[in-house]
């Protein structure tokens, strides 16, 4: 007599969120569980929907930048950059070289800040308390630097259509160099503390494995895709700004498990550090803003521009009807597309690993819901 004949078992629905601290915001997932195993997972989103795309249709191009600040609120400058690039492509203007260097420096610093936050919060998702202190400490240094350059810690509105708002302060280069040394020490510290820790390895190795074909069919991009073993990086494959002048590696993982997804971000931190250093070496004096009208009014047309955000491949589809307000702004948010791969990753995982898998995708709900 087998167990099935004796007991009539049914799958159990377990609701997680939207106020669960490990979901990094207001994200709800409904887990269908069979004992300790996850059979199915249904993500529910929309708790932070602000209608940014619709709002953008009623704002002038310069004002839309402030909305993009608030999409991925951990990597604001990367978001500003992608919208400004889209508008520039539409208008056919090219920002001056110094402006592009400043943009890339700020974007890479913001990538560092975002990854440091990920390292900290991922560790705390798994129950390790210390790394979040180190992660936040280093991120705070980067934000102080942003404050001295842009005037704000998070919502900068600094990258403008045609360049950047103003030139960097006089002591920018030495200050950033000192900052990079500090941050490198901090990243190394987090790395040493967490990466090869036995408990951390046990929690993440072989958990939430996803192979490249599945990942591609789900639309997974960014460090999470590279962890599976595909070297897709928009900065390398579709170069923009001054990225072609910089030499850097694209870290690629092997197994596509949670540990790889974590480790890709640690390695990217080191790459970003070296990229900012190269930018500082190559940067020359010059204008930071292209010659253009103060009010941007692109000609009729549409454009799709994408770039590499800390979370993956962000795209903006921008339609202009020739007025000073965009006709349509569509964002392809990496966090939202990465969430699709949650189901294949979580299937047959333990409940205890659900948080580890969700955390390893590094979603930001401001971007998922927009």
């Amino acid at each position: 007599m087998t167990a099935e004949q004796t007991y009539d078992t049914v799958d159990m629905m377990l609701n997680m969120g939207p106020q669960h601290p490990a979901t990094h915001g207001v994200f709800r997932m409904v887990l269908t569980i069979d004992g300790e195993r996850v059979v199915d997972v249904t993500p529910h989103i929309g708790y932070l929907h602000r209608g940014s795309e619709k709002l953008a249709e009623n704002e002038s191009y310069g004002q839309v930048v402030t909305l993009f600040d608030r999409l991925d609120y951990v990597a604001n400058l990367n978001n500003e950059l992608i919208f400004c690039r889209a508008a520039e492509r539409l208008m056919g203007i090219e920002p001056p070289e110094r402006g592009q260097y400043i943009r890339v420096i700020l974007a890479e610093l913001n990538r560092l800040a975002s990854h440091l936050l990920f390292i900290g919060t991922y560790a705390i998702d798994l129950g390790a308390m210390t790394p979040i202190m180190y992660g936040f400490r280093e991120r705070e240094r980067i934000q102080n630097m942003f404050e001295s350059v842009t005037g704000a810690r998070m919502m900068h509105n600094f990258i403008r259509i045609g360049g950047v708002k103003e030139d960097v302060p006089a002591d920018f280069v030495p200050r950033v160099r000192a900052l990079l040394d500090d941050v490198e020490r901090g990243v190394h510290e987090c790395d040493r503390l967490l990466t090869f820790n036995e408990v951390f390895l046990a929690r993440t190795r072989g958990v939430g494995v996803i192979d490249v074909p599945t990942a591609l069919s789900c639309g997974l991009t960014g460090p999470s895709l590279r962890a599976s073993g595909m070297a897709y990086d928009v900065r390398k494959d579709y170069p923009y700004e001054v990225y072609p002048y910089l030499s850097y590696k694209v870290p690629v993982g092997e197994n596509g498990d949670c540990w790889d997804r974590y480790y890709m971000r640690v390695l990217e931190c080191y790459e970003s550090l070296s990229m900012v250093r190269q930018c500082l070496d190559q940067m020359e004096e010059g204008p930071v803003m292209a010659q253009m009208r103060r009010i941007a009014r692109p000609p009729k047309g549409e454009v799709y521009v994408h770039g590499e955000n800390p979370r993956g491949d962000i795209g903006v589809f921008l339609v202009s009807d020739g007025t000073d307000k965009p006709y349509r702004v569509k964002v392809r948010p990496p966090s939202f597309c990465n969430l699709v791969s949650l189901r294949p990753m979580m299937r047959d995982a333990y409940i205890a690993d659900a948080v580890a898998i969700l955390g390893s995708l590094d979603i930001v709900l401001g971007e998922v819901d927009r």
């Binding site: 704002e59 002038s60 310069g62 004002q63 402030t66 909305l67 210390t130 400490r137 705070e140 102080n144 404050e147 001295s148 350059v149 842009t150 005037g151 704000a152 919502m155 509105n157 708002k165 302060p169 510290e189 040493r192 503390l193 090869f196 820790n197 036995e198 408990v199 951390f200 253009m292 009208r293 103060r294 009010i295 009014r297």
Partner: protein
């Protein structure tokens, strides 16, 4: 097991160092030179009136529509102590709506509005964050004291300088120089 000891060693290293955190209400960290706090209006001390001419560009360009202003004819212009034909008599900013984007400062061509260092404006009253003209000018004065701000385009916007320039031009041409560009509405675009 080794990883645990390595972790303990890393944390122990920081045990004797100075903490990096600041205890906020007791300890205030200084803001950076470029810090953008709440917007403030600035005073033209040479004419004892605000720089603002009420052209409404900032009101129109604000992404959150947090400002409102009213202008009237400037009595000082008829007296000849100012070059501004129009002046504001009311200006209100709802600081709760303000998102500190700095667009108002960018579009202003009269050096009239600036992002101050003010960032602690909690109040008990529901309308406590609605700053009117005297309050905004007060913020502006404090900002000037702290940052040593001076108008970027003094030749055009400071009353004393602009009047002297105008008088010189009038003397040179021996004709009235009534069509000075500074009192015109700024044209959109065309930098």
């Amino acid at each position: 097991m080794i990883g645990t000891f390595k972790g303990l060693l890393t944390t122990a290293r920081w045990l004797l160092k100075r903490p990096v955190t600041a205890h906020y209400p007791e300890q205030h960290l200084p803001v950076q030179q470029r810090y953008m706090g709440f917007p403030a209006l600035l005073m033209d001390d040479t004419a004892d009136e605000p720089f603002c001419t009420g052209c409404m560009v900032c009101v129109r360009e604000c992404p959150t529509q947090c400002m409102s202003a009213q202008m009237h004819d400037n009595p000082n212009f008829t007296d000849g102590t100012s070059h501004r034909r129009k002046i504001i008599n009311e200006f209100e900013i709802n600081l709760n709506r303000c998102i500190l984007c700095g667009i108002c400062v960018d579009v202003c061509s009269f050096d009239a509005i600036e992002m101050s260092y003010e960032h602690e404006l909690a109040s008990y009253a529901r309308t406590g964050s609605r700053a009117d003209l005297p309050q905004l000018l007060d913020l502006g004065r404090r900002y000037v004291d702290m940052s040593g701000w001076s108008p970027a385009n003094a030749e055009k916007n400071v009353a004393e300088v602009a009047l002297a320039k105008r008088a010189a031009a009038a003397a040179a041409k021996a004709a009235s120089a009534g069509d000075d560009a500074s009192t015109d509405e700024p044209t959109e675009g065309g930098e």
